[in-house]
């Protein structure tokens, strides 16, 4: 009886040791269950929801009944307010960025469909230097905590995706000249 107890104990200890070795061996590997995968495309940034015009999303709401027309043309019935400007408009049109089949997605050059919340990947295809700076927090505005969670903005929050040049602003009042300070 006593011998069996010792045997059981030994087996349990051996199993525990094996498990420890296995975990230690796995720990360095990326797909280990404790460490989430860290790829470029999988990093998520805290961004507010995309700045859609009210009531325009999901696009499939209207587009589900329409037959997709991949032919490049000037839109006459809908989306007439959208004007491509300041962004090589001659070389570009809707389906360069919007997906033909799934209207609620954007489309990378690789054909990969991405959500509107990830639109920075779309812009980053060409503007790699800005994308790199944006990821580390140097391009664009950050709010939140300097030592913790910071909120990013999507490119489209500051740059209208169809007319990306930053709009001029009215400056706030200049300081008073000393002679007017009483």
């Amino acid at each position: 009886m006593k011998k069996r107890g010792i045997h059981t104990l030994l087996i349990v200890m051996l199993a525990a040791a094996l498990l420890c070795v296995a975990i230690a061996g796995q720990a360095g590997r990326r797909e280990f269950w404790l460490t989430p995968p860290k790829g470029d495309s999988e990093t998520t940034y805290m961004v507010p929801p995309p700045p859609f015009t009210e009531g325009i999303f999901p696009c499939s709401e209207c587009h589900k009944d329409l037959t997709p027309n991949p032919k490049r043309r000037v839109l006459k019935d809908e989306h007439t307010n959208i004007e491509l400007k300041n962004h090589a408009e001659k070389e570009r049109w809707c389906l360069d960025c919007h997906d033909l089949k799934n209207r609620d997605k954007l489309r990378l050059v690789s054909g990969e469909q991405i959500d509107f919340t990830e639109s920075y990947r779309l812009c980053g295809q060409c503007h790699g230097d800005k994308y790199r700076d944006w990821k580390v927090g140097v391009h664009g505005k950050r709010t939140g905590q300097w030592n913790g969670k910071r909120e990013y903005l999507l490119c489209a929050h500051c740059h209208n995706p169809h007319n990306p040049r930053f709009k001029p602003l009215q400056p706030k009042l200049p300081p008073l000249r000393p002679e007017y300070i009483r």
Partner: protein, 308 residues
């Protein structure tokens, strides 16, 4: 003893020594708080320098200030004295290729840091410079007021306290009412400052400002989250300056300074210089960076850079 001698002793004689004694006593009495001054003014009159205060003493002073300000501004005012965070040295980056000179930062700072509205005090000054001349401060214009910015052929250079590592302002203070804290922020003890304005003369960036009058701060616009060495309401006759919003940045949930949060173009960067992963370290390592008036060896922790 002759009658003449006795008479000389009896009549009042104003000697040089007596006159000086009287003058000293009179001037001393003038320097004391007025007769009608409240007890708290008497107390702050005899208060020690901030750096010599013990913990119970400091807590009593903070509680007293909170009570005073709360009554004055009709809201619950918090006065903190949070010490610097360990292992933190603040650094600031300003992207000159992004700044459009819209002055949002100027007024964001005024609101956050309880500057006097009237007479006007601004901690941030935005200089407009000509692209042709580059950073040529002699041709800087701070009163520009076009309908929209940016203007053709110009760029903008906001200036505020550079939180120098080698600050000339603290060296000239005759009473040590201003000093550099361990996180690099140069602070002023408003209760200790005598208002001589030597520091203003010493600062090469024009970053210090004097309260010529009692600050005009409307109760409705008063920010109740304050720091003793930072944005608490200032008395008349003291010098004040940018303190990197220490009421925000020194807390554990260190929020960005108000000017960083308000900048519409994201030209302002802030972080810990001792943290190699921080934004500011990335800027210094990867961008074209310069500091203002480098030749003065003030070693500012305020870095201007070009992101493109």
């Amino acid at each position: 003893m002759s009658t003449e001698e006795t008479r000389e002793k009896r009549i009042f004689q104003l000697t040089r020594r007596k006159a000086l004694k009287g003058l000293a006593a009179g001037l001393g009495a003038l320097a004391l708080p007025a007769k009608g001054a409240s007890a708290s003014i008497w107390e702050s009159f005899f208060q020690k320098n901030f750096r010599e205060l013990g913990k119970p003493e400091l807590e009593r002073i903070l509680a007293k200030l909170e009570k005073e300000y709360s009554a004055q501004y009709g809201k619950s005012v918090k006065v903190k004295a949070t010490p610097p965070l360990e292992g933190v040295l603040y650094g600031y980056g300003l992207d000159l290729s992004r700044c459009i000179g819209c002055r949002r930062c100027v007024y964001g700072c005024v609101t956050e840091n309880n500057q006097s509205r009237d007479p006007q005090i601004h901690w941030i000054r935005v200089l407009r410079l000509e692209k042709e001349r580059g950073v040529d401060l002699e041709h800087a214009e701070q009163y520009y007021n076009p309908s929209t910015v940016p203007e053709e052929g110009h760029f903008y250079l906001p200036v505020q306290c550079h939180q120098c590592e080698n600050p000339p302002c603290t060296k000239v203070c005759p009473v040590q009412a201003t000093w550099k804290e361990n996180d690099g922020i140069v602070v002023v003890d408003y209760n200790w400052c005598i208002g001589c304005r030597y520091c203003m003369a010493a600062c090469p960036y024009g970053a210090r400002h004097f309260n010529w009058k009692k600050p005009g701060l409307p109760a409705g616009e008063m920010n109740p989250d304050t720091h003793y060495l930072g944005n608490r309401p200032r008395p008349v006759g003291v010098v004040e300056k940018c303190i990197f919003c220490m009421q925000r940045t020194r807390e554990l949930d260190g929020r960005y300074p108000a000017c960083v949060e308000v900048c519409p173009v994201g030209a302002r960067k802030f972080g810990n210089l001792l943290d190699p992963e921080s934004e500011i370290r990335y800027v210094i390592a990867n961008k074209r960076v310069f500091i203002l008036k480098e030749d003065l060896n003030t070693q500012p922790k305020f870095y201007y850079f070009y992101s493109v």
